[in-house]
């Protein structure tokens, strides 16, 4: 800014330093794990900062990639993410569009009924019983359907649709398009940033799905990546608690390699969406 005194400049310097430091501290644990994952198992992990690897080896990854359970879990997670996100987007977009039409009789009541579920719920056990009654236990559906619509995402999507000028839809209506046609030909193409944001939110929560998997899936064949990862970590944790001497004997690098294998897809994909979701959330914030 144009004229600024010494105090203001000092503030700027300290501020930049602080922000940079915060970012580094946030990022460091990931970096540390990456380094540990490529450190030879025999070498042992030295205490202190792991800024650069001394020797690089991919033996942990080699070991990991030949585990059958990893591949089957990866497949399940990809399946749950792709199909689950598709189902969620389908239901969310349709409902959000319908609810963005204020002239729709009953829309206020329906909206309230939906928002109310954010404040009150039956609880873990009744939810479990529903999934059980539907025969979904130990199926991939149990990891997608019970959280198919996240109310927050629905509200965000609706806010976005509300911001689209009515006049754009009018012309299509005059041309005799019905609601499905308008949604498909006009509204969706105009809403790509919001759709990308919400698809990312859904995809990430399906990819990270843990709670529903723990509750509803006991069959190892259907374990998603998160459960596989947890079992890998637990093996070490057991040693960690009894005696607590050296969890690293059990292959800390393998553990960290497992973490990298499941975190990397998210870390790669999410920055591409950042532009969109800042926009998406901005809209939600203004409209509410």
């Amino acid at each position: 800014m144009a004229h600024s005194g010494f105090g203001s400049k000092l503030f700027d310097v300290l501020n930049y330093l602080f922000l940079a430091l915060t970012a580094l501290v946030t990022l460091y644990p990931f970096w540390d794990s990456l380094i540990v994952s490529i450190t030879p198992m025999k070498e042992g992990i030295s205490a202190g900062l792991h800024l650069f690897p001394k020797t690089v080896t991919f033996e942990a990854y080699q070991y990991l990639l030949q585990l059958e359970q990893l591949w089957s879990s990866y497949k399940i997670s990809v399946l749950v993410t792709v199909i689950g996100t598709a189902i969620s987007m389908f239901a969310t977009i349709l409902a959000a569009y319908a609810l963005s039409k204020k002239e729709l009789p009953g829309s206020r009541v329906i909206m309230f009924t939906i928002v109310f579920t954010m404040m009150f719920g039956g609880g873990i056990i009744p939810n479990f019983l529903v999934v059980k009654q539907l025969g979904m236990l130990n199926t991939v559906w149990a990891m997608m359907i019970p959280a198919a619509i996240q109310t927050y995402n629905l509200i965000l999507m609706r806010s976005f649709f509300l911001s689209i000028p009515e006049s754009l839809e009018e012309s299509a209506k005059i041309d005799g398009c019905h609601d499905f046609g308008i949604l498909l030909k006009i509204v969706i193409p105009l809403s790509m940033p919001a759709i990308a944001t919400i698809a990312l939110f859904y995809a990430v929560s399906r990819w990270n799905e843990f709670f529903m998997a723990v509750m509803y899936v006991t069959d190892k064949q259907l374990w998603p990546l998160q459960l596989f990862l947890r079992s890998m970590l637990m093996e070490n944790e057991a040693a960690f608690q009894s005696g607590g001497d050296s969890p690293f004997l059990l292959g800390q690098s393998i553990k960290m390699a497992t973490i990298m294998v499941s975190a990397i897809p998210v870390m790669i994909i999410y920055p591409f969406f950042q532009r969109y979701f800042v926009q998406g959330v901005t809209l939600g914030a203004i409209k509410e």
Binding site: F30, T113, I125, P126, F240
Partner: protein, 316 residues
């Protein structure tokens, strides 16, 4: 019959007729709502009905309706359990810690990021601090174990090189809650700035320029422009946090805890999970869950009322 009343009647008839017309015209919109209505009915409202088993002696074979009523017996039993009050207390303590330490962090961070004018720098910081939000608790748990372990972890390495004794951040019940709270802050503080950043993006830059012209210092600009423009957001987030005071972070604790720290880390949700799904005491577990939901709901209503009394918008 008076004339106005008849007119009102006629109007009502017309209104009803146009209502039907509007409903018929909106038939496609209702079809669009169908999946959502089914979803909320089955996975949100039916479980609320299912929560009735808290008042029953539930057996899976008899079903929700078939099981005999138990009145408040489950609750009476529950309220007599020391263990129950213990997890209740843990939940509140962890949650309050999270509120007190976790709430100001994103706010301060957002204000500081707003002061950083170099766009590329700001974007980079944002990208980095948002990242942990997208990473699952299982992974974060693994990272924490790596970071905090007694022999190879960075943190204990630093403590030891300063001449201290290694600390069992994840194993010692004196430190476990602190580890929970700080790791939660690490994971979510960045993401929680986004909503403030969004609100700040809407502030007219001319306000800042005018203040600068008037010679307002940096602090005054933050105090008089930045903070007031996010006050409503702060209040809404605070209400939501208070309304979920009974949520102490199931997934995080479930991933990190172990019997050695149950005394400080066992919360309502983990307790429900264990007595319900591990021990199969469905009615008792449902009673705990219902108790929790009810408290959350009451807290939300109170917080909302308070914010309205203070002249802010509530969330409903």
């Amino acid at each position: 019959m008076s004339v106005p009343a008849a007119a009102a009647d006629a109007r009502a008839v017309v209104a009803r007729r146009t209502l039907w017309k509007r409903v018929a015209r909106s038939r496609y919109l209702y079809i669009m709502l169908l999946p959502a209505i089914l979803y909320y009915g089955i996975f949100h409202y039916y479980p609320m009905y299912g929560a009735l088993i808290a008042f029953k002696q539930f057996s899976i074979t008899k079903g929700i309706m078939g099981s005999p009523w138990a009145g408040f017996k489950n609750f009476e039993y529950l309220f007599g359990l020391d263990k129950f009050w213990h997890v209740f207390w843990n939940t509140i303590v962890i949650s309050v810690y999270r509120l007190v330490f976790g709430f100001p962090f994103p706010l301060i961070m957002a204000i500081l990021m707003n002061e950083a004018r170099k766009l590329l720098f700001k974007k980079t910081v944002q990208t980095i601090v948002y990242l942990p939000h997208f990473i699952s608790w299982v992974i974060m748990g693994g990272l924490l174990i790596n970071l905090l372990s007694a022999d190879g972890g960075v943190v204990n390495g630093a403590i030891r090189s300063l001449g201290g004794e290694p600390v069992g951040f994840l194993t010692d019940d004196r430190y476990f809650r602190g580890t929970l709270v700080w790791s939660m802050i690490w994971k979510e503080f960045g993401w929680n700035t986004i909503i403030y950043m969004a609100a700040l993006a809407g502030v007219n830059p001319q306000l800042y320029e005018a203040a600068l012209m008037d010679g307002a210092s940096r602090w005054r600009r933050i105090w008089h422009i930045t903070l007031p423009s996010i006050r409503a957001t702060i209040v809404i987030l605070l209400i939501l946090r208070i309304g979920s005071l009974m949520e102490a972070g199931f997934e995080q604790i479930f991933v990190l805890y172990h019997p050695g720290v149950y005394n400080v880390a066992d919360i309502i949700d983990t307790y429900v999970y264990r007595i319900g799904l591990t021990d199969g005491r469905f009615s008792l577990a449902a009673a705990v869950g219902l108790f929790k939901s009810a408290i959350n709901f009451v807290l939300l209503v109170i917080a909302n009322r308070l914010s309205r009394m203070m002249g802010e918008n509530g969330i409903y």
